[in-house]
Symmetry: D2
Amino acid sequence: MQIGMIGLGKMGGNMAERLRRGGHEVVGYDRDPQLSDVSSLQELVDRLQAPRAVWVMVPAGAPTQSTIDELGKLLSAGDIVVDGGNSHYVDDQRHGEELAARGIGFVDCGVSGGVWGLENGYALMVGGSQDDVRRLMPVFETLKPAGEDGFVHAGRIGAGHFAKMVHNGIEYGMMQAFAEGWELLEASDVVTDVADSFRSWRQGTVIRSWLLDLLVRALDEDEHLAGLRGYAQDSGEGRWTVQAAVEHAVPLPVITAALYARFASRQDDSPAMKMVAALRNQFGGHAVTAKEGEVAKGADAPGADVVPPVEVEG
Amino acid sequence: MQIGMIGLGKMGGNMAERLRRGGHEVVGYDRDPQLSDVSSLQELVDRLQAPRAVWVMVPAGAPTQSTIDELGKLLSAGDIVVDGGNSHYVDDQRHGEELAARGIGFVDCGVSGGVWGLENGYALMVGGSQDDVRRLMPVFETLKPAGEDGFVHAGRIGAGHFAKMVHNGIEYGMMQAFAEGWELLEASDVVTDVADSFRSWRQGTVIRSWLLDLLVRALDEDEHLAGLRGYAQDSGEGRWTVQAAVEHAVPLPVITAALYARFASRQDDSPAMKMVAALRNQFGGHAVTAKEGEVAKGADAPGADVVPPVEVEG
Amino acid sequence: MQIGMIGLGKMGGNMAERLRRGGHEVVGYDRDPQLSDVSSLQELVDRLQAPRAVWVMVPAGAPTQSTIDELGKLLSAGDIVVDGGNSHYVDDQRHGEELAARGIGFVDCGVSGGVWGLENGYALMVGGSQDDVRRLMPVFETLKPAGEDGFVHAGRIGAGHFAKMVHNGIEYGMMQAFAEGWELLEASDVVTDVADSFRSWRQGTVIRSWLLDLLVRALDEDEHLAGLRGYAQDSGEGRWTVQAAVEHAVPLPVITAALYARFASRQDDSPAMKMVAALRNQFGGHAVTAKEGEVAKGADAPGADVVPPVEVEG
Amino acid sequence: MQIGMIGLGKMGGNMAERLRRGGHEVVGYDRDPQLSDVSSLQELVDRLQAPRAVWVMVPAGAPTQSTIDELGKLLSAGDIVVDGGNSHYVDDQRHGEELAARGIGFVDCGVSGGVWGLENGYALMVGGSQDDVRRLMPVFETLKPAGEDGFVHAGRIGAGHFAKMVHNGIEYGMMQAFAEGWELLEASDVVTDVADSFRSWRQGTVIRSWLLDLLVRALDEDEHLAGLRGYAQDSGEGRWTVQAAVEHAVPLPVITAALYARFASRQDDSPAMKMVAALRNQFGGHAVTAKEGEVAKGADAPGADVVPPVEVEG
């Protein structure tokens, strides 16, 4: 079928390519004229035959909002918009209502697959009405991996991004579980072949998984990750997962711990732990570790109380 | 090769069977005479040709200790013992020393694979000297899955069980991550097809894994797990993982949260939360939920302050 | 000075009483005519001399919103409104703007002190402009405890409720810390006099605090809290604290764990732990504990694998 | 009464001083001859009249073990030893048995109070037999604070250190709760007077406590703790609390999170978060932050994906 694709970066560009390989006609628009088939959204809309289908693949938040606002003005009743970016599911519901007021359909689509998706297909989670989803099935069929899985119509508008959000929350927890296990093995003096242990786990174990395969690839490149800093961004979906859990009174200790580990990883120095150090100093004269160039306030040298002297006590 | 197998339950019995299918001669001993090839450990030792190899597959702790004690008396210098159970790695080190004093070799072996191992092979993580491990390689080759992974010589004595312990800790974290995501999706009114969402994730996603496959099997049997209680045992290895982390000053927030969720799942009523309820009552006159037959102490009816009245305040 | 008080429940009623004892003229309104000095908000406004001050002490959310909406219509430029309820700080900012558009001042005020406040005074945290706060100081001076503390002008509009929100988040963490320590002592067979241990801590220790005093009062009434259920509500501020932390990328492991413990305490059965039980069953044939009247799916009796047999393995 | 005091550092020295002020005769021994009244443990024992009482106030572990070993040889049946250091409660039980075999009594005593104890008294938690504790009551009465609290006979041998251990676990949780709240307030742009907010909380609030007083003192000295590093030691008791909880299957999410925050505070770079960064890089081409002098592996500049581009996706 014919589809417009807005946003032709690494993700949108690859998806357009996969669609073309699958026999679809893709009209692409990007702010970068070298990537773009048309010079404006107006021209994109003009190039598509009604009823049109337009896939939006731009960053969540303001860029997606302004794209959908503009499409609302340019498209006609009977057209349909897919938001394939990482939008917050609460925004989907508003977008759907705004477009519905003009007779334009809306489907939200969470996409997983990263740089591997062009060849292997993208896992798709979609939300919207039966009719809207059905119209787009030729596109979804081409984008998804071969086989019976990799696609779900998860519910009404917002359900696609909600499911993708929870997928990412689970992913945070799994990554952190592997990372903690790796740190403990590296700290042990009993296990001397940590990387080989992870390699061996790819068969026969309970934890075999694609993340384990990736982990082994990372260790193949740099066995002790000596070239990396322990610094991890979070992409928004982890935060939304925790916030949705708090709203629903669902306890998520593992997923939240994984998110907080990322927050902490980005702090040069933890303000909270400054306060803990300050309190220890107040009640016990415990050594505090002063910044370079400062004088330690405690009586003892920094680090001296790893084995705590009984002299100062909590 | 020839090997003695002590403990012929579901795990040991299947492993003996896989070894026999692989052409090894297995002499099995179990306390249950119907399973056993010999009537005593003495007879088992007599039936094996020196230098002997004996695989111990009995519960960790006292049963393993007494079996190894007895083998120490019955075996001869040059023989070798494998502990394939779930022993604590600190016990391995003692067992190795006790046997070494009599010239008997020792290898610890963590085994993963559960009821699927007979057909698919068992993932093996072993600790011990190069020589001891090399002698047992024919057995390991048969037990492990086909392919290049599924076996690691992880380090000195204790390393096999240490690696297996950490494997299980990672498994706790992964299971809890999936479980939390499932609970949140079930609580949401946006995603109406939760089981199908999990099914779809088996292809193309970052979280595809054997645990996800098992999760889908569980939902195939009982879509909302209505027939189960939220009650999960822990097997010891999760506890040892946390204790090893505390000893090494390695923070394991995710794995520990997963362990604690299991502890809490087994409490009919949380003592800690009784205290929180009691404190809320003390400072605020907040409603406490009394046990059946008791009178609530707070002014309000139980549950009345979900939306807290401004009347009583923290 | 003269002030209107809207909401004369346990909290607002006591505050009105403390203000009257302090020499202020309070005109009170409540939906309950028996508590109310006036029959309507219109009459309340008519009874006050311009420039008026009105203190709103009703539940957060819709009740506060509708009260402020109505006051916006009834009051005049130069009047001032105080929101002393538990409003979310983001709502304060909107309320302040709505009232400012009509020339009406606005101050938000977080109030702590519970049922003890009438005699001991209320801790007050306020947000708003210097001028607005200054006008209300006679009222704040009377409500606050004697002494130099118990009052802070924490910043611009919203700062009062933000500070109160964080106060309550800290409170959650402290309560949970005490509760966990109590649970562990109760579980120990070494310490046989748990209540006396807590009593003794009221002097000379690092953890002496008002919460410890309350905890001892609770144990005085019921030494093992046998009459309570482990069931704790949360008041909204804990949730907002976590959500604010997620927005600011501030890790709050302790406060969040305390909130999640409350969520979990209100679940009859944990959905997440059903999934963990289901997964254990899938890979290991581990015993699952079925609901009453259901047949356990695992081979073993419920609870049988506290010491795990080596038969089934992760 | 007459008592020997072994270990005259900041803690033991102050306790000896408080005892002397209270009319007791203290014979002190320290490895530092300038602090010591006697030149050897032998001389200490000779100077005391039988039945003797000796208070051991040296670091936990090897120093306490060797002191108790030596006292076991020097003392006589009917004498009594108090361990006032921070010993692990499991060691107490062994020490008690070793001394009992020679007819020597043993009492373990957890001590809280830090540098403030000399003037205000020390909170004491003791474990041992009724008779042994009764003999030492004159000493405990002098050391404890004036008033009815500050002393507990918590149970049999080990109970004093167990109670003290849990006290410290609670303390970890409380400190972390305050620290997290402070970090969130500092991160907010709504509350502009953070230190004054904490000051105000000292009256009328639920969280008023000695730790809050100390926190305010710390902010009085350095309002944003700019001179400190976020680096906090742990003293052993936090670790033992978590390990005891794991043994008893008691979930301690808050206390454990506080302990882990300390572990993490001492890591220059988190190994676990290196792995998370590596995994993100593997599946998404996410930017990783390389060490100085290394080239970032990701396509994007470090930090560029705070707002994640839709290009690369989990």
